[in-house]
């Protein structure tokens, strides 16, 4: 400070020697400039104070009135750019009792790790990111991972491993075990490609193109969603798939919303033995109604694989795989879904949500002599803070993982039961 005053004093002396000839107009001009500079200095000081102040002090450090008006106008514009990437995940365990497995009966049930998963979700400005990686005791795999862009009209484009838009979304079941659509690759399926989705009032639509299944390695069974896999004599894989889904919601934003929609899927199948391309097609109609605390879901779907298998390979079935295993599925069939769920008011202060449901699904195979595959799950999903628990009693007939059940031929053609309690901590 002393130095500043000394410099100023010197300057004053130097200038005073020849300065008094200045005219009155010059003095006024200088006074105006001083005023302007003072104002600018005040603004700069405010800016410096704002930058160095704690965050809460930065909000509106002294602004001229006209700038305040600008601030308010700016606040009225669409929200400012944001940057937020969040980490999440879950740790889940299963308690199981399988009625068709002697050892499970003998041990009075089993328990073990279901999955440990990590999630990354967020957006930097309009660029979106979402990914989930899962660790199972017997494999680890990516469930999905995509980057996206959100347009000003809120429509979104996603590129990467994303959910195939087909039928009831996001899931065709309420329970943890899912139903037939999942096990034939028609629900909660993820592939590698590009998807565009938008909403216009009651209308919602998605179109997508998938180059291939999610891992670009159809021989790898360590995957989350079911796809055609390369196993044994079955050497088919999904390529170049187009999807379109359109839905209309009656009573949108009312206490009774009913979505009615249709989905189309058409793609190619490449056979690694014959080096030829075949086709596959699927379509579905669905209804998803949320009235008060009730939810009713219906879906009818049809699919057909025309695979270029070499001679000697049974082309009436195709081989699906995931979760480190594979099984055959009828190459053509019809899938039906009928689900009902009810959300109960919390009966106890420690329960945040209680949803009970009955999910039923059926595969009608276009295969001579094959029995239908069916699965019915009665259960409840209970939320309590970060804990979420599914208590499901599953009855299945001719379903994989239940006795000798198969989605191709059949099985014991008997209903087999399983109690499945899935307890998860989510963060």
């Amino acid at each position: 400070m002393k130095r500043a005053c000394a410099v100023c004093g010197s300057l004053l002396l130097v200038m005073a020697s020849g300065s008094f000839a200045a005219g009155e107009s010059t003095v006024e001009e200088l006074q105006r400039e001083i005023s302007d500079l003072k104002a600018r200095l005040a603004d700069l000081e405010a800016l410096v104070a704002n930058i160095s102040a704690p965050r809460e002090l930065r909000e509106t450090a002294v602004l001229p009135a006209e700038k305040v008006a600008e601030v308010e106008l700016a606040q009225a514009q669409p929200e400012a750019d944001t940057a937020a990437i969040e980490l999440g995940g879950a740790l889940r365990f299963n308690v199981i009792h399988r009625e068709d497995v002697d050892s499970s009966e003998g041990k009075r049930g089993e328990s073990g790790l279901d999955v440990f998963r990590l999630n990354v979700d967020g957006a930097i400005n309009n660029l979106l990111l979402s990914a989930e990686y899962r660790f199972y005791p017997y494999m680890d795999t990516i469930r999905y991972g995509w980057v996206g862009y959100q347009f000003e009209d809120d429509s979104v484009i996603q590129a990467g491993i994303n959910q195939v838009p087909f039928g009831l979304l996001p899931y065709a079941a309420h329970n943890a075990w899912f139903g037939v659509p999942y096990y034939v690759g028609m629900a909660d399926d993820y592939d590698m490609g590009v998807k565009y989705q938008r909403e216009d009032g009651p209308w919602s639509g998605q179109v997508a193109f998938y180059k291939n299944e999610e891992l670009n390695d159809a021989g790898n069974l360590d995957r989350y969603s079911y796809d055609l896999v390369l196993q044994g004599d079955q050497q088919n894989e999904e390529i170049n798939q187009l999807n379109a889904r359109l839905a209309y919601t009656f009573g949108k934003n009312t206490t009774c919303e009913t979505e009615l929609g249709g989905s189309l899927e058409a793609g190619q199948v490449y056979n690694n033995l014959s080096d030829e391309r075949g086709d596959h097609r699927a379509y579905a109609l669905h209804l998803d109604s949320r009235c008060g605390r009730w939810n009713f879901q219906l879906q009818g779907a049809r699919y057909d694989y025309e695979v270029p298998d070499p001679p000697g390979v049974d082309d009436r079935v195709v081989r699906f795989g995931a979760f480190a295993g594979a099984y055959d599925v009828a190459a053509a069939g019809k899938v039906y879904v009928a689900n009902v769920a009810y959300n109960f008011a919390s009966p106890w202060r420690y329960i945040d949500s209680l949803t009970c449901y009955n999910d039923y699904s059926l595969l009608d195979k276009s295969l001579d002599g094959a029995s239908d595959s069916q699965i019915n799950t009665l259960g409840c999903a209970i939320g309590s803070g970060p804990l979420f628990t599914y208590v499901d009693y599953i009855l299945a007939r001719n379903m994989p993982f239940f006795g000798d059940g198969s989605l191709a031929g059949g099985g014991e053609d008997d209903w087999l039961g399983r109690l499945n309690i899935n307890i998860g901590y989510y963060w």
Partner: protein, 378 residues
């Protein structure tokens, strides 16, 4: 004294300067020399959007010009937690706070605020003492009322063929479909829920004080919850309406007027408006208590309150300020007789006693679904 010194120095410098190249050097020196003489800075905590704009234009800028002190405006969204933390730590950076009355009552009870005497306040221009000029002054010994604000039902005028006519239309999703926005707080929402459920405004707090009444209010809100965005600042509510993210919202009445001036297709209903007033309060243990009192005295003068009302249609707490406003503006205030016909006064005393129990319950209620969730955790 400092002002006098500055003026003398300025005149000397101006006389000394002749050539342009020296002017800036001298001015830089002048700035450096004047910096230690800088006036005090006051941290004033207030709200956001059009409300704080009305304060800046109405009396904060005039206060700065009249006193030479600077005012930093800090935004908050209510509550007493921050004040409690600062006061208890004797590290108070908030000099003056614009508080909701029930928060001021709570903070006053906890000894977090300086007592404010009526003698602090200026009389009306005709000499009427402040104690008679203020509409209400004895609610909190720690706060001085400033303006009467109001929570009203706001809506987009381009969404409905028949615009909403009454509060009950907020809850009628069949006739008036569309997303809603409500304040993320039980205050006001529970009152509206009971009124929409048939409770007379005069009995709202009597009913709300019972477990059955509270349950009844939450059940009424259940129908809206899946279709509701929750806002925390008044500006967020307006933004949700302006951007079309919601069709109806609880909003502060003055914000709607400001949005309409910007050409936004918004309107509001006075039906069952919930009116309230804020107070100026001074946290204890602050370093700027005297300057803070000077600010409160200035901000609550007849001229200041009248000036603020010209920038946002909120009712001044002084009768003399109200009288100074043109009739057409008085008719737009929440306190206009026509607008008060079905109004409810937010019971600040009731909330100051019940918020600690109802607040956590409201937060738990927010987290609980009332429909089957579209996606359960997988």
């Amino acid at each position: 004294m400092a002002g006098f010194s500055r003026r003398v120095l300025s005149v000397s410098l101006v006389a000394a300067m002749t050539t342009p190249r020296w002017r800036y050097a001298v001015l830089v020196c002048l700035c450096l020399a004047l910096s230690p003489l800088r006036a005090d800075t006051l941290n004033v905590v207030s709200w956001d959007g059009a409300y704080v704009k009305s304060q800046v234009l109405g009396f904060i800028r005039p206060f700065e010009e009249a006193t030479g002190h600077r005012v930093n405006i800090i935004q908050h969204s209510g509550g007493v937690a921050e004040i409690r933390q600062q006061v208890r730590a004797w590290n108070v950076s908030w000099d003056v706070v614009d508080m909701e009355l029930f928060d001021a009552l709570r903070a006053c009870r906890e000894g977090l605020l300086e007592p404010l005497q009526v003698s602090l306040l200026t009389p009306a221009p005709d000499g009427t003492p402040a104690s008679e000029d203020f509409i209400e002054l004895d609610e909190s010994a720690c706060g001085v009322g400033n303006v009467v604000g109001s929570t009203v039902l706001g809506f987009r005028t381009d969404t409905f063929e028949q615009p909403p006519q009454q509060l009950e239309d907020l809850f009628d999703l069949q006739r008036f479909p569309g997303r809603r926005a409500l304040r993320k707080s039980p205050k006001g929402n529970l009152e509206w829920a009971l009124i929409a459920d048939g409770v007379a405004p005069a009995r709202v707090y009597e009913v709300l004080a019972t477990e059955a009444g509270l349950e009844r209010a939450f059940e009424r809100l259940d129908s809206l919850k899946p279709h509701t965005e929750w806002w925390e600042t008044g500006q967020q509510a307006i933004h949700l309406l302006e951007s079309g993210q919601v069709a109806m919202a609880s909003v502060y009445s003055g914000r709607v007027a400001a949005a309409r001036e910007r050409g936004q297709p918004l309107a509001m209903l006075w039906d069952h408006q919930i009116w309230f007033y804020d107070v100026w309060a001074i946290p204890r243990n602050g370093r700027n208590s005297e300057l803070a009192r000077e600010f409160v005295r200035f901000a609550s003068s007849t001229d200041s309150l009248a000036a603020q009302a010209r920038y946002i249609p909120y009712g001044p707490m002084r009768r003399s300020s109200l009288a100074a406003l043109p009739p057409e503006l008085r008719a737009r205030l929440p306190t206009a007789p026509d607008n008060l016909s079905s109004a409810l006064e937010l019971d600040a005393h009731w909330w100051s006693e019940h918020l600690d129990t109802i607040g956590p319950r409201f937060r738990r209620w927010l987290e609980r679904p009332v429909m089957v969730p579209r996606a359960l955790p997988r």
